[in-house]
């Protein structure tokens, strides 16, 4: 350590030029800052861990236990729940067979989720386009009209659909009143009802991200395309669609994931017969009294959702790399 070359050397300065001290102080400040940040995050971390994320691990543990006779579990290891997800023991000859009921529900869940995604695409993309091409003042109003249902109670929106399509609902009453039919058309408790309901409740989830990407669209590019004698169809397929694709992918994922895990809409509109995965899981904790199977099914559903999410991250990540 050397004294400053010129000027006085009051007590305060003697250590000032020591590079180690400065570095130590800086390190100390940074560490204290990070400690404060962790402390501030602690309540949120604790609550989410205790009442959302942490219990998921218990679900995993329960999926490997033996079902108790009146629900709950016995603490004995058993892989049966996981086998039961796809296979079942024949009650007469004890041979393993495909669990047709489960597989049908898996298939129905996937089918209805894809169908819902497709329907929201058909309705949502033109709607998003329509909103994005309004002038600025009216655009806010249209956007607000899409957002309101998004934040209103999902159960109430499902009930609204139900009142429309019930046997004694508005549509059937009107048709009978007009003398067009004599017996009400059975729409409730069908796959159609579930797809219609899910399309209705998840539609805003498609419109909003697609709108966001159309809004960013540079319409000069579109004009340039027309300038080069592209037809409308070619224009849409070659220029607009690729540019809007990120929003369409985001919207599709946002619709597909809650559809796959839907519980309220199939329960209200599908009734007891047309189950989806969410209802099958619930059944194991209610009448089924097979908590381990319910746990295994829940983890299976979560894994399916994670696959969809990872696919999304993969696609958007690649897109980001392309655009620099």
């Amino acid at each position: 350590m050397s004294a400053p070359p010129s000027g006085p050397a009051p007590a305060a300065s003697s250590s000032g030029l020591d590079p180690g001290r400065a570095a130590r102080l800086a390190g100390e400040v940074a560490r204290r800052d990070i400690r404060t940040r962790w402390m501030l995050s602690l309540p949120a971390i604790a609550i989410v861990t205790a009442a959302a994320a942490g219990p998921l691990l218990i679900v995993l543990v329960y999926s490997f236990l033996t079902p108790g006779p009146y629900g709950n579990v016995e603490w004995r290891f058993s892989p049966d729940a996981w086998i039961n997800v796809v296979l079942q023991k024949d009650i007469f000859d004890d041979t393993w067979q495909w669990a047709d009921a489960h597989l049908r529900i898996f298939w129905r869940s996937l089918e209805l989720s894809f169908l819902t995604t497709a329907l929201t695409l058909v309705l949502g993309v033109p709607t998003a386009w329509f909103i994005a091409t309004r002038n600025e003042r009216t655009r806010v109003v249209w956007l607000f009209l899409i957002t309101i249902p998004f934040w209103t109670n999902l159960l109430i929106r499902t009930i609204a659909v139900m009142e429309l399509i019930r046997n004694e609902g508005v549509i059937n009453s009107a048709l009978i009143g007009l003398g067009l039919i004599e017996q009400p058309i059975q729409m409730m408790f069908t796959d159609f009802a579930i797809a219609l309901g899910m399309t209705y409740v998840y539609l805003p989830l498609m419109v909003l991200p697609v709108y966001a990407s159309i809004e960013k669209l540079d319409f000069r590019l579109v004009e340039a395309g027309y300038d080069l004698y592209a037809s409308r169809r070619k224009m849409f397929l070659r220029i607009i669609l690729p540019l809007v694709k990120p929003g369409i992918i985001a919207g599709s994922i946002l619709v597909f994931i809650p559809s796959l895990g839907a519980y309220v809409t199939p329960r209200v509109l599908g009734g007891g017969k047309n189950l989806m995965l969410g209802n099958l899981i619930e059944l194991q904790f209610g009448q089924g009294r097979n908590w381990p199977l319910g746990a295994a099914l829940a983890i299976t559903l979560m894994a399916m959702v994670m696959v969809a999410l990872l696919y999304y991250v993969h696609v958007t990540g690649r897109g980001r790399r392309w655009h620099g």
């Binding site: 940040r37 501030l40 995050s41 309540p43 949120a44 971390i45 609550i47 989410v48 009442a51 959302a52 994320a53 942490g54 219990p55 998921l56 218990i58 679900v59 709950n72 058909v122 309705l123 033109p126 709607t127 386009w129 329509f130 091409t133 249209w142 607000f144 009209l145 249902p149 934040w151 209103t152 109670n153 159960l155 109430i156 929106r157 009930i159 609204a160 139900m162 009142e163 429309l164 019930r166 004694e168 609902g169 508005v170 009453s173 209705y200 579109v222 004009e223 027309y226 809650p258 519980y263 209200v268 969410g278 899981i281 904790f285 746990a295 829940a298 559903l301 979560m302 959702v305 999410l309």
Partner: protein, 271 residues
Amino acid sequence: MSGWRNRGQPFSSRRIPGFAGIALATFALLYAPIAILVIYSFNAGLSIAIWEGFSLKWYVQAWNNEAVQEATLRSLGVASVAATVATLAATMAALATTRTRPFRGMTAIYTLINQPLMVPEIVTAVALLIFFAIIKVATGYTGIVYLVAAHTAFCIPFAYLPIRARLESMDLSLERAAADLYATPWMTFRRVTLPLLWPGIMAGFMLAFVISLDDVVITEFVKSAGQETLPTYMLGQIRRVMTPEVNAISTALLLAGVVFVTLFFALSRKR
């Protein structure tokens, strides 16, 4: 070229034939069921489909229904506590995870806080059912705290989003200026950061409140006997004969939701 012109409308690159029609039909489809639901809440008759004249009797009936009263108070109570605690925790977490160089664990905090958004509700509901069953057996306590804790947890990411957005758009040099003018870190927070963050905090609270008020799935699995909230009460009712009473309750709940969401938007846009 002439093909575009002879449609009688000036050419616009922003117009795609058919899109406006689908869009307007979509808006109609979106609002028709809600409109019908609201209209029949004023039906004098028993039916949810045959109009028998205007009446407020179903509102009166719902108002006087003790089960509805109880569920409403419980819903409001749970939403108030859960939204308040969630907003507080989310504000602190947002302050910790914004405007800093990424530090070890920051992504983990961020992912954890947003975790309830990524897992299907039914899975969280089942997880909480199992977890709380264990605690209920161990402690013998079956009170409302479980419901409040669950609601607080899934409200946190919703409260966190607008608060974080506002913090990120806030000019860092304002806090620097306060420190430069002799404000200690605490005074800087109280006099500059907090007043500027306040609309974001309120927006976060509104969102959390609405989300809590609307929840069905997790509540249905977590609630102990006799702990109905308004949505679970309604879910139970629609299995039976539907009367416009459900419509009346729905309409009231819709109105509350619209008010909160409108406030949320007003606050988010405030400079």
